[in-house]
Symmetry: C4
Amino acid sequence: MTKGRLEAFSDGVIAIIITITVLLIDLPEGNGWGDLLSILPIVASYFTSFLLVGTNWVNHHHLLQVARTVDGKILWANLLYLFILSFFPVTTGWVGRSGFALVPVQVYIFVNLLGAISYYLLEKAVMQSKGNTALKDLIDEPRKERWTIMVEIISFGITFVPGGHHLSCPLLIVAVAPWIVPDLRIKEGLEKNHDRNN
Amino acid sequence: MTKGRLEAFSDGVIAIIITITVLLIDLPEGNGWGDLLSILPIVASYFTSFLLVGTNWVNHHHLLQVARTVDGKILWANLLYLFILSFFPVTTGWVGRSGFALVPVQVYIFVNLLGAISYYLLEKAVMQSKGNTALKDLIDEPRKERWTIMVEIISFGITFVPGGHHLSCPLLIVAVAPWIVPDLRIKEGLEKNHDRNN
Amino acid sequence: MTKGRLEAFSDGVIAIIITITVLLIDLPEGNGWGDLLSILPIVASYFTSFLLVGTNWVNHHHLLQVARTVDGKILWANLLYLFILSFFPVTTGWVGRSGFALVPVQVYIFVNLLGAISYYLLEKAVMQSKGNTALKDLIDEPRKERWTIMVEIISFGITFVPGGHHLSCPLLIVAVAPWIVPDLRIKEGLEKNHDRNN
Amino acid sequence: MTKGRLEAFSDGVIAIIITITVLLIDLPEGNGWGDLLSILPIVASYFTSFLLVGTNWVNHHHLLQVARTVDGKILWANLLYLFILSFFPVTTGWVGRSGFALVPVQVYIFVNLLGAISYYLLEKAVMQSKGNTALKDLIDEPRKERWTIMVEIISFGITFVPGGHHLSCPLLIVAVAPWIVPDLRIKEGLEKNHDRNN
């Protein structure tokens, strides 16, 4: 019950975040193809954010599937995670309008990094709560989590090399790439458990 | 469970897309009937989009009803579909504010076309996943899907004939007309299966 | 199942309509009490709309509770109803910013009237669908529906008398007053049915 | 059933309130760190509001968990509560853009106070409805509710002392601090009831 509402609330917030970001795409001023071209950078940043937030949703989806109980710690770790995600519309708009300028790119990556860290904290909160020991077995080593955080730190670091920030946003997609295939560890574990019970 | 959350998330995103589009209707500047008239084109484009997105929702609703399992492929095909739909507010606003000018109409139709194609991909992903073979029997030939894509291509094509783009948006309504009656193939199939089981 | 998704989708749309209306309240320009006073008309129109849309939600809630099956006709009557409701943010913003000027008030009432009529159509669609005959017994005479439509027509009519439009918005609250007490006919009927079954 | 829809609708509205507030953060004008600094006050007010609305959501979550029946009184007390909460985006935007100036801070606190009072009314409505007597035993003394209202009154009061309004917003966090640990009274009560039944 409680878990159902937590999922519904999180889905609601993530669905809104992913969708209102589109409101930050300014309508083209004129009616020609040139006017359309001028909004391409923000369309590109919107695409990147949709992919990143979508990946976050898919993972969140799998993580909560394993959770059996929801305690206060999980509730607040989840709110922190949603709080970080909620900055995506603003940073997406900024990075897009600026045409992927240095500082907006740095802030954009920084928010991604905070998101990855708060997801890691949420995962820990789920694992430590009573009754969720199943997850512990499924995720013995948070390899993907470490990969994401590491690549995002690199992506942040290279912005300090002249011209390096042009590579940063493509690198973010590399950072989440292993997540695009949903978390097979959890899936396989669930199936094994299921087989064992039947 | 998984399917329930996928439906809830998709419903949330589609509900938000359909509703925030209304925010792109500028408030009339003055307080007279003339000021109201000046926003009529955008009200017309909003009406068209509401009808088109509404039709998409109804179909999506019926499609997922048949799906029994949800795998990673369906998740991502669904996210792609929602990503395309999420451009409706922007293209609706642009086409309306421009008073249905040539380029905005072309972009509007193009997004519709991408939507129809991504829906087709989602349908394929649902059909190919294990356990969803029922759908294969129900939709032996994707006639409606082909009709929609074909009429939308025509609608796009005639924009290159001088003055032809005035016919394009009405044609979009013709393109989705067969969907307005919900997918009877699926409905009848479900009832048959139900009778067989009882 | 189908009904559950219809309810969830409608709740989502109504929740978004009721909430994004608040975005049309402009932030006060300065930081004094006078600046706050200048946004009072739009706060007043927001209050009225929240009450009216809230009433609509409560009724919709009760109506769908009685429905057992959902067919294509109900789906589309419901979409028409949501389409009308979705104009509330725009008309609320217009009527508020204009300080309840004549034409915006007329348009505001007109949208309310269309809302009441589309609700009536939805009620009919629910009643006429197979398996929903229970509702027919519960609502033998649509007295409230007639009251609302009648008072809203009066509210619209008096705007043509000089100065009459100042009374129109308070009259709208009179129009929905009988609904504020949720539909006891349905509630009592449900309880009777429940008693009969136990 | 009814309760489920009330929860879903409330979750939807609260999720939208908490998320659209982010739209009131203006994009930085330039692309430098200085431009980012200029939006820090509104990020600070957004953080405060996210925490306050989040706390409200967690409490609302626990309160409705105990409710067994939902009557008209609860429906309307809930709508009043959501109406008050829906002012958060506007007041957050105002207080942030003004850099926490006197009058915006007073209005911000006042809306918080109204929120605490309407939550108290909702709690009463839940307690007084038939079948919810369990809650009466769980919350014998609304100590937290009184604490919150009292500290918020103090927070409002000190704005009339010169310079006092700088302390008001931090005080708001003190006001809700006891809620951040979810309502253990309810949780423990639920567990006791559960043990008794098994």
